[in-house]
Assembly symmetry: C2
Homo-oligomer: 443 residues x 2
C-alpha cells in the first residue's frame, strides 16, 4: 500500500532544512547605511523564469516595478543585469523578449545566459568541440568564440550507424560515409536538447572513444576529454502546476549512464550557470560595465540578486557573497603583511567542491585588480519554484529531507547557503526592499 | 592527462570476472547420455540480435543451420523458440522477418518478445495502464490482454503543459483541456521510446501524482503505483562497431531521475525479459506447446539457450537452470516426505533478488503440475556483444572490473552465472554442438 505523507510537498523537495528564521521572512526595517562616500552604489541581478515570467506568461509585478527602475528617458537608475540559466537561445532574442515584456528597453549587454561566461574560456575556443543543446547551437557557439564546432546532427550525418534508438531514423542502407570529422577535443553542454537518447548515445560514444566515435573501442580512456556544462537547474517553473525538467535532469542522465557503462564518474571541466561562482563573477563584470556606461565613478559596492529558486538563485548569490568575503579577508591579510594598500591576486580557499576550476579563478585574468563588491544579498520571491505557504517542513521529516538534494552532484550541499537574506512576495516587493535598504526613494 | 588502459575493452565491460575455464571454452567430446526412455527430448531457445542478425544484416551461419533444423517438408525436428528482448513490435512481424531471413517458416507462436509474459499478468489487464515504448504500443498492449490503455501521446494531448523540454512542441496558446483521463493505476515499460525527455517527464509526473499528472503535488506518495518493465538490456550489438543503447539505459535514466527528485528508489513490480526467470518459464511453456504440436509424447527434458550476451542470455539461462535444479530438489524432498510420486507445488528459495515476484511464481498457476525440464544449458556465440578475442581480462584489472556491472540494478550479481556451459563461434557451431551432445545426427 502507498504511504501518504501529508503536507510534504514536492515543490519544496529542492532544498532541505529550509526553515527560514523569522528575521529573514520579514522585511528589515533597519535601512542599510550609506557607503562611506555617501553615494548609493549598488546593482541588481534579476532571474527571469519564476520572477518576471512563468513560461510565456508575464508576472504582473514585473512590468510595474521596471517602470520605476528607469528615469523619464528610459535610462536605468542603477545597473541591472538579467541572469538566467536558460541557454538554448542568443542574448539578442532574450533582450527583445524582455524589452517587450517589461516595456523598458533591455540591451543584449544586460542579458546573461547560462553559457555567457564561456566567452572567457579562451583555452577552448580553438579546440574542436561537440556542442549539445537545442535551437541555434551553432550560432551560440560561434558568438561565444568557438571556432571549430561540431553539432550532434553533424555527427549523426557522418556516423549514421551510431544513433539507432528510433527505429524510423535508422539508416535504410548502410553505406560507409565518405566524410571525416576531426577528433573531438571537448564537449560543451549548452542546455537541454531534444531527443535525449540521441545526445546521450553520441556524447557517451565521444567520451568512450576519446573523441573518435567512428572508431572501435580498444582501450578505456579516463579521464575522458573535457566536458563543460551550462545550466545545472534540475527543475523550473513553467505554466504547469508542478516543476518541469531542466538541463540538470539531462546531466543526471548523462552522469548515470556514463557511470553505469564505465564504472567511473563523469567529470566536468567546469559547471557554469547559477549557482556557480563563475556565473556571478561574470554578472559582476556586466554590472561594472553598466555602472561605467551610467557614468558612475564609484565602483559598485553591493549586489542584490533576486530569484525564485533557493538551490540556484539563493544558493548562488550566497556562495558568491561568501567568495567576496573570502576575497576581502585574503586581501586584508596580504595588505597587513605588506603594509601597503596595493591590491594583489591571492589564493582563496573554498569549502565547497565548486572550487578552483568552478570558482572565479578560471576567468579572472586581471580581474583581481579591480575593486570587488563588498557583498551580494539574496532575495527570494514566492512567484516561482518556491512557494512560502508550502515550505514549512514538519519537524518529523528530517530523515526524508536528508535523502533529497536538488543541487548538482558536484556541489557539496551547505544548507546555510539556501537561506535567503530576504523573502518577499514578488519582484516589485524585492525592488522596493532594495531601494528602502539603500535609502533611495524609488518613485 | 588521460590514462589509457591498454587491452581493457569496453565490449567486455558488461561482465566482470568473466574468465572461462578451459573446459567451457572447448567443445565437449563427451556426448550427453540419452534420456531413460531412449528418446531425444530437447528444445532450442535462440536469441536473435547478435546470433541470427546484427542490426538488419543476417549472420551467414544462421540460414545454413536452420536449413538443417527442418525436414524435407519444412517441419522442425525439435521445438524451437526465438527469445528476444526486443519489444517494440508485434510477434507476427518478427515471425515474418525471421521467416524471410532464415528461409524456413517461423510461426508467431515460436516468437517470444520481451513483453510476451505479460499475457499471464492477468491482475493488471483490467487496470488503467500507461504504456511506454515506440511502434505499435497500443496494439501490443491490447494483444497482451490490457483493456484500458493510455499512451504517452494521449497524456500529452490531454495535459499539454507537461511536456515542455522541446521549445517547438510547447503549446502556443494555453487552453485548459476539456478531456479527462481516468487515474493511471500502473505503468508498463515495453521498450526504449523515442524522445526520452517526454517519456521520462510524463512517467515521473504520473509516479509523483499517484497516477493523476494534471493535479498539483500535495503529498509524497511512496511506494508509487506499480511499474512493470520489459527488456533490461543495457547494450546490444547492431551494425555499429561498438554496442548501442538498449532499454536498460532508459531504465537507468528513469531510476536516476526518480531517485534524484524524491530521494527514494524506483520500484519495479516485475522485471521481464532475459535474464528474468519469468521469461524462461514462459519460453518453456512455448517449447512445451511446440513439442505437443510435433506429436511428442515425452516431455522436453533439456533446453539449450543460444545467445551472444553473457549478462542477458547466459546469465538468464543459468539462472533458469538453477531454478530448475531448485525445483527438482524441492520436489524430491516433498516426495521423500510423502513417500509418494505425486507432483505438488512447493516453495522455492532463491538466492537472487530476482525472486518471488520476478521468479516463475507470478505466472505459475497450475504450471507446477507439469514435468519441468531437467536442465537448461547456456551456449555463448562470438558474433555479437561477446567477442572471444577481446575478453581475456588482465589479472591486474580486478578492481576496475568490480566497479562495473551491466546487469540491472535489482539483480544481485553472481559472477558464476555468467559462465556459459559452452562457448562456440557462431550459431551453426552451437546447433551442431547440441545435436552432437544429444547423439542425433544433424544432416
Amino acid at each position: 500500500m502507498a504511504e501518504f505523507i501529508p503536507r510534504f510537498n514536492l515543490l519544496r523537495l529542492g532544498w532541505r532544512a529550509l526553515s527560514f528564521s523569522k528575521s529573514s521572512l520579514t522585511l528589515s526595517t533597519q535601512p542599510r547605511r550609506l557607503s562611506s562616500s555617501g553615494t548609493n552604489s549598488f546593482g541588481l541581478l534579476f532571474d527571469i523564469d519564476g520572477v518576471l515570467v512563468r513560461g510565456k506568461t508575464p508576472i504582473p509585478a514585473a512590468k510595474q516595478c521596471f517602470r520605476k527602475l528607469v528615469d523619464g528617458n528610459g535610462k536605468y537608475k542603477v545597473p541591472v543585469v538579467f541572469v538566467t540559466n536558460a541557454g538554448n537561445c542568443v542574448r539578442q532574442i532574450k533582450a527583445e523578449q524582455l524589452s517587450h515584456l517589461l516595456e523598458v528597453e533591455v540591451s543584449p549587454d544586460q542579458v546573461m545566459l547560462s553559457h555567457s561566461p564561456l566567452r572567457v574560456f579562451h583555452q577552448f575556443h580553438n579546440m574542436c568541440v561537440l556542442v549539445s543543446g537545442q535551437g541555434p547551437v551553432l550560432e551560440v557557439a560561434h558568438n561565444l568564440g568557438f571556432q571549430n564546432v561540431i553539432t550532434i546532427d553533424m555527427l549523426r550525418e557522418v556516423y549514421p550507424l551510431l544513433d539507432v534508438v528510433d527505429h524510423h531514423r535508422r539508416p535504410k542502407d548502410v553505406v560507409p560515409s565518405s566524410k571525416e570529422l576531426p577528433p573531438i577535443e571537448a564537449v560543451v553542454l549548452f542546455g537541454e536538447p531534444i531527443r535525449w537518447e540521441t545526445n546521450l548515445q553520441l556524447i557517451v560514444d565521444v567520451l568512450l572513444t576519446n573523441g573518435r566515435p567512428g572508431n572501435p573501442l580498444t582501450s578505456m580512456c579516463y579521464p575522458h576529454i573535457p566536458v563543460l556544462a551550462c545550466n545545472m537547474d534540475l527543475l523550473w517553473m513553467a505554466e504547469a502546476k508542478n516543476p518541469r525538467f531542466g538541463h540538470g535532469m539531462f546531466l543526471v542522465c548523462l552522469e548515470s549512464l556514463y557511470k553505469k557503462i564505465t564504472g567511473y564518474d563523469l567529470q566536468y571541466e567546469a559547471l557554469i550557470g547559477k549557482p556557480s561562482v563563475i556565473t556571478y563573477n561574470y554578472a559582476e563584470l556586466l554590472i561594472r560595465q553598466q555602472a561605467e556606461s551610467l557614468g558612475w565613478t564609484e565602483s559598485v559596492r553591493r549586489l542584490y540578486a533576486i530569484g525564485d529558486n533557493p538551490m540556484a538563485d539563493i544558493y548562488g548569490a550566497n556562495l558568491y557573497n561568501r567568495y567576496l568575503q573570502s576575497m576581502r579577508h585574503a586581501r586584508a591579510q596580504v595588505q597587513a603583511q605588506r603594509g601597503s594598500a596595493g591590491q594583489v591576486a591571492t589564493d582563496i580557499q573554498f569549502e565547497t567542491v565548486d572550487d578552483a576550476k568552478n570558482s572565479g579563478k578560471v576567468m579572472v585574468g586581471g580581474s583581481y585588480e579591480h575593486r570587488l563588491p563588498e557583498s551580494c544579498s539574496s532575495i527570494l520571491v514566492c512567484t516561482g519554484v518556491y512557494n512560502r505557504d508550502q515550505q514549512d517542513l514538519p519537524p518529523d521529516h528530517t530523515v526524508t529531507e536528508q535523502r533529497i538534494f536538488h543541487g548538482h552532484r558536484d556541489f557539496r550541499f551547505d544548507p546555510s547557503l539556501t537561506q535567503p537574506s530576504f523573502v518577499v512576495h514578488d519582484v516589485q516587493e524585492a525592488v522596493e526592499l532594495v531601494f528602502q535598504q539603500e535609502e533611495w526613494p524609488l518613485e
